[in-house]
């Protein structure tokens, strides 16, 4: 893994990532949109490209975070140079409105899965693989 990261850094190789952010529920509709826009432009400015974004909107949390029981969920898929995530992380930690965030590295199966889910084909995991 370490050597891979090093090689990626040297060659500026892109990787696929997924970012999920929980924004504070007190955010207004415009502020929520502005925050999304901000991070999307940040990706593009740093030589990445946004594949897909999806705001889930207000969703109740499984347990309270920062004394809030709901949160505004937002998911972004993007590909960016491997060194970019650190910069994005700093921005997210500075952001008062972002309560929590998580990066996920997407392997080829994950990308395939997301593509299929987006194109409207219901993933067969949910129904068929019942206990």
């Amino acid at each position: 893994m370490g050597i891979n990261n090093f090689l990626n850094f040297k060659t500026g190789k892109m990787s696929n990532y997924e970012l999920m952010v929980i924004f504070t529920p007190v955010l207004s509709e415009e502020d929520f949109k502005a925050a999304q826009k901000k991070y999307e432009t940040l990706v593009v400015e740093n030589g990445g490209s946004v594949t897909h974004t999806k705001p889930w909107g207000l969703k109740s949390l499984a347990y309270p975070i920062a004394k809030k029981t709901t949160g505004l969920y937002w998911v972004m898929e993007y590909s960016a140079p491997t060194s970019f995530n650190e910069k994005l992380k700093i921005q997210l930690l500075r952001d008062e409105s972002a309560m929590r965030h998580m990066f996920t590295v997407l392997d080829k199966y994950a990308v395939e899965y997301n593509d299929r889910k987006r194109s409207g084909v219901q993933h067969f995991s949910s129904e068929k693989a019942g206990v």
Binding site: L61, A62, T104, Y109, V131
Partner: protein, 88 residues
């Protein structure tokens, strides 16, 4: 004199023939476990929100690992609870 209901066997007879366990991921061809799909992940949790062992779910080690990672991610993002009662 031996009675009819006192028949003894040398080996214990098999009470039931359980169907063989299988890994549902391998069988269904699922190759990515999505942490965002809470309903799907709940199949691998007990009522307290704890992960079920491989012994019960029949998952292969490869996918049990992926399930556990997905569940842990979902817990971090408050999609699934860490501790609860009556999850199902």
């Amino acid at each position: 004199m031996a009675k009819a209901n006192e028949i003894k066997y040398l080996t214990a007879i098999k009470a039931d023939n359980r169907p063989k366990k299988y890994c549902r991921f391998k069988k269904m061809g699922i190759r990515y476990v999505d942490y965002k799909d809470a309903d799907f992940l709940k199949k691998f949790l007990n009522e307290q929100g704890k992960l079920l062992p491989r012994r019960l779910t029949g998952n292969s080690l490869k996918f049990q690992r992926k399930v556990s990672e997905a569940v842990k991610k979902a817990r971090q993002m408050a999609i699934l609870p860490y501790v609860t009662d009556l999850l199902k």
